[in-house]
Subunit: 173 residues, 2 copies
């Protein structure tokens, strides 16, 4: 019993040290932890349109990719890798037929965004996100950030797009 | 021969008068002529994204609808009819599969914009375009304005969207 107070202090000190020297929260093995984008970048809905896309298969999604000024400048100048400060936003919606448009066209041909599903971000910060190619990945559904297990799937997939600095979307002229 | 000079002046004067009183170029029957947008509005590629769409059928198109500040403010406030000064741009591209994305996904599911096909505009000016619901319609392919016969097809179709002031596209949140 005599040693208990010292032990508590020691444990507390070690815990504090681990916290301070750990390269990122959530990991204690000394390896850099993946860091995800945990806050929705301000004002992204006003950013410049880069392109649209429809994903069939399981996603059944339609949406747009928007970029902040740094992103759009880099895209237009064909500058790779994207510079720090680049933020790219992908706005996804359910892919639905437009009954309204189809009535006018006289046939089922028009597909538009339905309810929003999620918004995803790629934030370039070559220091902060060094462990994931310089990109921080974000995913928000109903304003809530994606769980860590899900977020770990972003980088391995984007990593395949080496030729375009991990970014899939091309600029639509 | 004595009257010839007077006749020329008279014809010239009448021609000038017809030009001045004619409601629009190209028509001399006194009826208001349809007027189309003949110049591409400046800076439209930087405007705010309103929505995306895919048109199947004969169009096989994917694209985006962008709006100038007046348009976007009206959309966000749910303000109808759209005020004068509104300009809405529809950027259309060939609807093509992305071999690059599909390779990563491991299946054919990704559809993106290919080469541009045309850019269309709706310009709100309730005076200038009174004959077509207050909207001037524009269509440009390779920078060239659509022929008059083609342009006459815009209004009869858009007129069917009475509930949304002749505009088909809804704002994607």
């Amino acid at each position: 019993m005599k040693q208990a107070p010292f032990l508590l202090v020691a444990v507390g000190t070690i815990a504090a040290l681990v916290f301070l020297i750990a390269p990122a929260p959530g990991r204690a093995d000394g390896e850099p932890a993946p860091i995800f984008v945990t806050e929705i970048p301000q004002g992204y809905r006003d950013w410049t349109w880069i392109s649209s896309a429809h994903e069939a298969g399981n996603l059944k999604s339609i949406g747009a990719v928007l970029g902040n000024d740094v992103a759009v400048k880099a895209y237009r100048e064909g500058k790779l890798p994207f510079p720090d400060g680049t933020i790219i936003a992908a706005l996804h919606y359910h892919y639905v037929p437009s009954a309204e448009n189809n009535k006018v066209f006289g046939q089922a041909q028009s597909f538009v965004p339905g309810a929003p599903t999620n918004v995803q971000f790629m934030v370039k910060d070559s220091t902060k996100y060094a462990a994931t190619g310089g990109w921080g990945f974000g995913h928000f559904a109903d304003g809530k950030a994606g769980a860590a297990a899900f977020m770990k799937t972003c980088f391995p997939c984007h990593e395949k797009a080496q030729a375009s600095d991990l970014v899939f979307t091309h600029y639509a002229p």
